[in-house]
Every structure is written in C-alpha cells, then in structure tokens.
C-alpha cells in the first residue's frame, strides 16, 4: 500500500485553481522529487498531502499511523525567541540530549548542539531541520525545497545525505526541487508539475521528455519555452490520458528497483 496518495485532487486559492487533477502516490522507501517552476503549485501539493490545505476535489490518503518528518521551505526563528538547536530538536516531542546529539551527528553538524538557531548558517539550519524530522522515526520525509539558499556544494552534499539516510533507514522521501540535475542521482522518480502533472517517471526519462524540456525551457526553444508553456496548455491535454498509465508503471518500476537494491 502507498504511504501517501492523492487521487485527482484540485486545490483552489480563492478564485485561482493552483492544482488541477493531480494524481500521485509515494511507495515505501522510494525517493520522489516534484519539479516545477515558481508558482507551479509544488508547495501547495505538499501541503495538501499533509492535510494543511483542503482539497476542493479528489482525495488525499495517508496510511493509518503514518509518521511524517516534515521540513518546511522556510522557517524563520524570530530573534526574539532564544532557541538553541538542541531545544529545537525537542519540539514538539522531548528527546534526550544523547539522542539529539546523535541526530545532529547523523546529519553532519554535531557541533551546533548548543548554538542558537538564529545564528546558524543556511546549510547548518537545513541539516538541523532534517535531524528534527528524523527524530520522529518517520516513514516518510517531506522536504519543501530543502536546499534553498545553499550553494552548489551544499546542495549536492544535502542530497547525498538524503540518499544515505534512505539507504540506512528505508525512509521514503518526497521532496520539492527546481533543479533536476542536482536531484537526479538521489531520485527514483520525478514528477514534473505546473498546476497539473506534466510528466513523470525515472529522472533520465523525464529529462528527455518534451514536456519537461518545454517546462524548463531546455533544448532549441531556449528560455522562451517557459513563457510559452505558461500560455499554451495544449500538450497537457493530449498527455492527460497517457498520464495515469505512465504513473502506475513508474511507481512499480521504482519500487522494483529499490527491492533489488536491498
């Protein structure tokens, strides 16, 4: 059974439909990345899956008793709140200092334990957030643009860490990114989103898909393609039929790959 799934969901913010007829699921131990330009509804999709925003159509299902480790896109620790990394890890469930220290060591920042959150670098901050998410022993990690504000080295290091954590714990990962090439190595499956699902599958397949190239303005059309995509949704309609089918296949394939890897 899928850990978490969305069946034909639509989400509205006021008059605009942010997500239209999105169907997706995440299987145990797979890493799924959602790709899409700004405003394509990536965060909204995550928030709908988490049950934070209501869906106007379709339904979201989470496995009973599913433990979710969530890393939000932005967490501003107000300077008015004194909060060390150790204290942050104990929210909302208290953890023993040894356990907190081990979690920080696991994500590669053992030295920040007693440091105030507001004084951490971007990379350290993201790793502490990941450590906190891992402390709940999640079945699935949900990460919303976890490498925002990191440089390229920080970014690839973070995704390597995610891949390691999955290898060690078997946790499933659902994350949002804007750059396929960085997440390619760490993802089993990629979903291209722009209000609806444009295409999905293994990273290599997606990177060659015309929908993906159109969405990110790769290939001969150059940067203009992004603009065109936003105003020309034709491809999505003739793609819609093939989509469910493709999804099922990709999910199964991803799952098999993983089984073999173990």
């Amino acid at each position: 059974m899928s850990l978490i799934s969305a069946e034909h969901i639509c989400v509205r913010h006021g008059a605009t439909e942010v997500l239209h007829d999105v169907t997706m699921r995440v299987e145990p131990s797979e890493i799924v990345t959602i790709l899409g330009p700004n405003g394509s509804g990536k965060s909204t999709l995550l928030r709908a899956l988490l049950g934070i925003v209501p869906v106007t159509h379709g339904r979201v299902e989470r496995q009973k008793g599913l433990r979710i480790g969530y890393v939000p896109q932005r967490l501003a620790v107000d300077r008015t709140m004194p909060l060390t990394a150790a204290r942050f890890l104990s929210l909302p469930h208290r953890v023993a200092p040894a356990e907190a220290q081990a979690a920080l060591a696991r994500v590669g920042v053992p030295e920040v334990m007693a440091r105030p959150m507001a004084g951490l670098s971007g990379g350290q901050f993201q790793r502490v957030m990941l450590a906190r998410a891992l402390l709940s022993r999640p079945d699935i990690l949900i990460l919303d643009e976890p490498t925002q504000g990191l440089d390229q080295i920080g970014e690839s290091g973070f995704y390597r860490l995610i891949a390691d954590v999955r290898r060690d714990t078997g946790v499933a990962v659902l994350m949002v990114s804007h750059d396929l090439h960085v997440v390619m190595a760490a993802s089993d499956r990629v979903i291209c989103l722009n209000g609806h699902i444009c295409c999905e599958g293994a990273p290599r397949v997606v990177s060659n898909a015309p929908e993906y190239r159109a969405l990110f303005g790769l290939g001969t059309q150059g940067a203009l393609a992004l603009y065109q995509h936003a105003h020309d949704h034709d491809h999505s309609h003739d793609h819609a039929q093939g989509h469910d089918h493709g999804h099922g296949q990709a999910a199964v394939a991803g799952h098999k790959d993983h089984a073999r890897a173990e």
Binding site: L50, F88, L91, S136
Partner: protein, 278 residues
C-alpha cells in the same frame, strides 16, 4: 490625590494580608506570574498590538459590568474574549492586522469611555480602570487575580510544547500533529483572562506593557524559551515591588510606577545584552 485616600485601610490592621501594601504586592506578583510566560508568547508571535486591543476593550467591559451590575471581572473577561476572538478570526482571514488592530483597539477604548460617561458618575472612578488601583486590591480581588493567574499558568504549562511548535511554524506544527488554530485559541483565552486579572493592577492602558516589557527585558539575558519565561516572571515581580516602593516613597501613582520600573529594567537588560555581544 485619589491614591492618598486609598491608603486609609492602613489604619484598620487586622489579621495577615489586611495590610494594603501586602495585598498590592501579592496582586502584582500574581499578575507577573501569568504575564511572564504569556508575554513571552506575545513577543515571539509579535502580538503586542493584539494585547493592546484586548486590553483596551476591557474598558468597554467595565462600562457594561457597571451598567448591568455584574462583577467587573466577568464583564471585562467577556468583552476581552469577544475582542480577542474577533481579532483572531480576522487575522485568520488575512486582514491587514496593523490597521485592523489600530481600528479595533482605539474604537473599543473610545466606545468604553463614552459608555462609562452614561453611567451615574458617583459610581465610576474611571482612572482606577485606566491606570489600575493596585493599592485598593481587596482580598476578594486577590482570589480573582490569583485564580486567573493560576489558570493562565496551567494552560500555558499544559500546552507549552505544542504552543512553542505552533509559534515557530504553523505548517511544521500541523505536520507534527499539532493544530495551530487550537493553540492560537488557547493563547487568545489566556490573554483575555490576563487582561481581566490585570485591569485592577495596572489598568487597561498599561496591561500590554506588563506583558511585553518584562518578556522583552528577559530576552537579552536568556538562551532558552523556558528561561525567558521564568526570567520575565522575576522581572515582573521586581518591577511590581520596585514600583510599589516608588509609589510609597514618592507618592506616585502605583500602576504607572510599576511599568516605569519595568522599563528601567528593560533598558538595563538591553545594555547588558549589548555589552555581552560586543
């Protein structure tokens, strides 16, 4: 001066707590105990103006209580609750908070003042409600203040972890199984209770000061949320005792004196914090 008249009870000293100064100090300590942790949340969540609006609405509550012969505590609590709930609802709907609170806070205060003016003047000492009347705290008032403060403290201690989580990030709270709306409601309730308790001590105009100044002063010298809340209580108590002493020796109004002492402590703490950093 009204304050001078209120010192009369000193002449009929009977058992413990009959001394008006002891009662005043106990009232202030009760308020500080609730205002420290609650004020910390007000500071963290940037709800200062929200506290103001709720406190100012209390004057309307006073007017309504006097008009209907209900106990003042009940009227202020009810109106403070309505105000706090209104503001929370509007905030959730995405109204521009700055303006909304500005409108609500001062309208409530003005409406309250107008309403009070309709009441027979003999019964109303408006100044007591605007600036507090801590030197005239009765034993019954003490029971109300300590009961209210204990309730606020119990609420905050009970919900401490979820409250902190929701304060940090609502989505994060949601994903951890904490309902941020529920936590906001609890803070709203605690705030209304504190306002009802504090009106006798520092008055409607200075309640927000008792929430914010001790917590803000505690920020500079603490490293954890818990320490900040506890130190805020200590600072609140020190301000109460210092303010009462000032009022006694210099014959200044008690409520404003307490807030003035708190402000001095804040300035000292900011100075110490600055020294440490450099």
């Amino acid at each position: 001066m009204a304050t001078a008249k209120r010192r009369l009870p000193v002449t009929r000293i009977t058992p413990v707590l009959s001394d008006f100064l002891v009662r005043a100090a106990l009232a202030g300590i009760g308020l500080a105990a609730a205002a420290g942790p609650l004020g910390s949340f007000v500071v963290w969540r940037r709800m200062a103006y929200f506290g103001d609006a709720t406190a100012h609405a209390a004057i309307l509550g006073v007017a309504l209580s006097l008009a209907t012969n209900l106990p003042i505590g009940v009227g202020t609590l009810a109106v403070a609750l309505v105000m706090a709930a209104t503001v929370s609802t509007l905030a959730a709907k995405g109204w521009a908070m700055d303006t909304t609170l500005g409108v609500l806070a001062h309208s409530a205060l003005a409406l309250g003042l107008v309403a009070v003016s309709f009441l027979p003047s003999v019964r109303v000492d408006l100044q007591a409600y605007l600036f507090g009347d801590i030197l005239a705290v009765s034993r019954q008032d003490l029971v109300f203040i300590w009961g209210g403060a204990a309730l606020v403290l119990a609420l905050l201690v009970w919900r401490w972890q979820p409250l902190l989580t929701a304060t940090l990030n609502e989505d994060l709270a949601h994903a951890s199984g904490v309902n941020p709306n529920r936590e906001r409601l609890i803070l709203t309730l605690a705030l209304a209770l504190t306002v009802a308790v504090a009106i006798k001590v520092v008055g409607a105009l200075l309640i927000a000061a008792m929430l914010i100044i001790p917590a803000a002063a505690a920020r500079g010298v603490t490293r954890s949320p818990e320490a900040m809340a506890v130190v805020a209580v200590v600072i609140g108590i020190a301000a109460t005792l210092g303010g009462l002493a000032l009022s006694l020796t210099e014959d200044t109004p008690a409520g404003p004196s307490i807030v003035a002492v708190a402000a001095v402590i804040f300035a000292l703490s900011a100075f110490v914090g600055q020294m440490r950093r450099s």
